[in-house]
């Protein structure tokens, strides 16, 4: 394994192959009959395995630049998806790790102990989607005001009317 990633297999295939040999218990295998919207070719790992997979991706595969953490609310399928996107300083395409958590209990281990760059990404996902990053020392609202109730980017959040303030106001 080298620290500069080889560009010939795509980062996605590289990651799947490497994880299958080194950390096989972290991979999630999806059933074939999933609805079209939540089908994906990207690598999905167990949420709890994230603190294991991310150092592997950074140190062994050389993808040290955390570019983005995007949350997506698949409300009809009852899950949140988090899309972690890494790049290599040496150049090349992105390496994507996806994590799926149930909407009722959106708990994901925080990357902050591993990567300080995750701080604002995680606060944003918490503020807008209500995803709880376990181990984040400073998980507060970032855009909405502190008294705000609810998570405005969730698909079931009311888009109109005056419900948006919440009962406490």
């Amino acid at each position: 394994m080298s620290t500069t990633p080889d560009t010939s297999p795509s980062p996605r295939d590289l990651l799947r192959e490497q994880l299958a040999t080194v950390l096989p218990h972290t991979l999630v295998t999806l059933p074939d009959d999933l609805p079209e919207l939540i089908r994906t070719a990207d690598v999905i790992v167990h949420a709890d395995a994230l603190p294991e997979v991310v150092p592997f991706v950074i140190d062994q595969l050389g993808y040290g630049l955390l570019s983005d953490i995007a949350a997506v609310d698949y409300v009809e399928h009852g899950l949140f998806e988090l899309v972690y996107r890494f790049y290599s300083i040496g150049g090349g395409g992105d390496l994507v790790i996806k994590v799926r958590v149930p909407r009722e209990q959106p708990d994901v281990p925080s990357l902050l102990p591993i990567l300080p760059g995750a701080r604002l990404h995680e606060r944003e996902a918490y503020d807008l989607f209500g995803i709880r990053f376990i181990g984040h020392p400073d998980l507060r609202r970032i855009y909405m005001w502190d008294e705000f109730e609810g998570f405005p980017m969730r698909k079931d959040f009311p888009k109109q009317g005056d419900n948006y303030i919440g009962e406490g106001a």
């Binding site: 983005d68 995007a70 609310d73 899309v83 150049g91 604002l120």
Partner: protein, 369 residues
């Protein structure tokens, strides 16, 4: 022994040096910063939520308002993301026009950023006027092609909204001839002025490894000595055809970040000269005629990114097959570049905070979205 109490004070949200409505909660021990915490959200308008209610095309003018200095770069990143998602081809000439606009944007942004930084140091108005003067000339060019000076809304899926007028290239050539003298002048202001050197050298140091672990991009990362430029690292559009260098700093202080910006202006000029040479004639068309603007991309997701003047600007889109994005996420460079602000300011004086913040070059429209 006399003990001093630590004091918490706010800089902003209404403060001329915070470049918008941005608040910094700082803890000071005398004049020395002990801790700094950025507070966001004063310009939050749930841009991403709005985008999920609009159609894909309706979002194009909204992207102008993210980083309102560089609307062309925002347009480019969004257009690339939708084109990736829907599989739309872009004609040759349109690619050249796009890159031309984006490189002009880079010059405009860096001229403004350097001007504002010197302004923040207390050299009121004159250096800033130098920057703004150059910016105006480029805004005139933007007005010529798009009808608007700042909110250009010029890009469309598969090309640009209209071709450049005949008088555009002569005007651009004139601008490029005058440019080196102007950039040299701006550099001299920084390099040879003792006060500016004292205010910028060794201030706000962001070491190499720390910069990577914080995920910063753009001139901030390159100022720390890492030659990471998306135009080279993962060439998009037609950037693989141009010959240009990626300037880097050595120490990672305020001074390095601004030298990087000045050198990038020269490199953008090089790219523009190559574009003028290579620009295909108008027969190729400025937009793909088969590209539908009321696009309904197939189910799936796509992420496209560009090297915007401030760093990595990316759009993550998820389509459910409908006319509106199911999810629209902006990866805003100046938001993520603020992550290490606290570490960069710790130990420096209160007056340095403003300069360090200026060297990151933020725009609140993009930070708060």
């Amino acid at each position: 022994m006399i003990t001093t109490d630590e004091l918490q004070i706010n800089i902003g949200p209404q403060h001329p040096s915070t470049h918008g409505v941005f608040r910094m909660l700082i803890t000071v021990d005398g004049e020395t910063v002990v801790n700094l915490e950025p507070v966001f959200g004063y310009l939050h308008r749930n841009h991403e939520q709005l985008a999920e209610v609009n159609t894909y095309l309706q979002n194009m003018p909204y992207t102008d308002r993210l980083d309102y200095f560089n609307s062309m770069a925002n347009n480019h990143a969004y257009a690339l993301a939708v084109e990736k998602l829907a599989g739309i081809e872009v004609p040759e000439r349109a690619e050249y026009i796009r890159v031309m606009m984006v490189e002009l944007t880079r010059i405009l942004n860096h001229a403004g950023a350097v001007g504002f930084m010197i302004n923040d140091m207390g050299a009121w108005q004159t250096p800033l006027a130098f920057g703004i003067r150059e910016r105006e000339k480029i805004l005139d060019l933007f007005e010529m092609v798009s009808g608007a000076r700042m909110m250009c809304n010029y890009f469309r899926f598969g090309g640009v909204v209209r071709d450049i007028p005949d008088e555009f290239i002569p005007r651009l050539k004139k601008l490029l001839i005058a440019m080196p003298a102007y950039v040299d002048e701006l550099e001299r202001l920084l390099r040879e002025n003792e006060i500016l050197l004292a205010r910028s050298e060794g201030i706000g140091i962001l070491p190499r490894e720390v910069a990577v672990s914080y995920g910063v991009t753009g001139p901030v990362l390159r100022g720390s000595g890492i030659a990471y430029d998306i135009r080279k690292a993962e060439p998009y559009s037609i950037y693989d055809r141009f010959d240009f260098d990626v300037p880097v700093g050595s120490v990672g202080d305020v001074y390095d970040r601004f030298l990087v910006r000045i050198e990038e202006m020269r490199q953008s000029r090089r790219i523009l000269e190559q574009i003028i040479e290579q620009l295909p004639d108008a027969s190729g068309g400025h937009i793909n005629p088969k590209a539908r603007q009321n696009v309904r991309p197939p189910v799936g997701d796509a992420y496209a990114r560009v090297e915007s003047p401030k760093g990595e600007l990316g759009f993550y889109l998820v389509s459910d097959g409908g006319p509106k994005p199911y999810r629209y996420k902006v990866r805003a460079p100046s938001f993520i570049n603020l992550t290490p602000l606290g570490d960069m300011c710790r130990g420096y004086k209160v007056a340095d905070i403003v300069v360090i913040l200026g060297s990151i070059d933020i725009v609140m429209g993009e930070v708060d979205r």
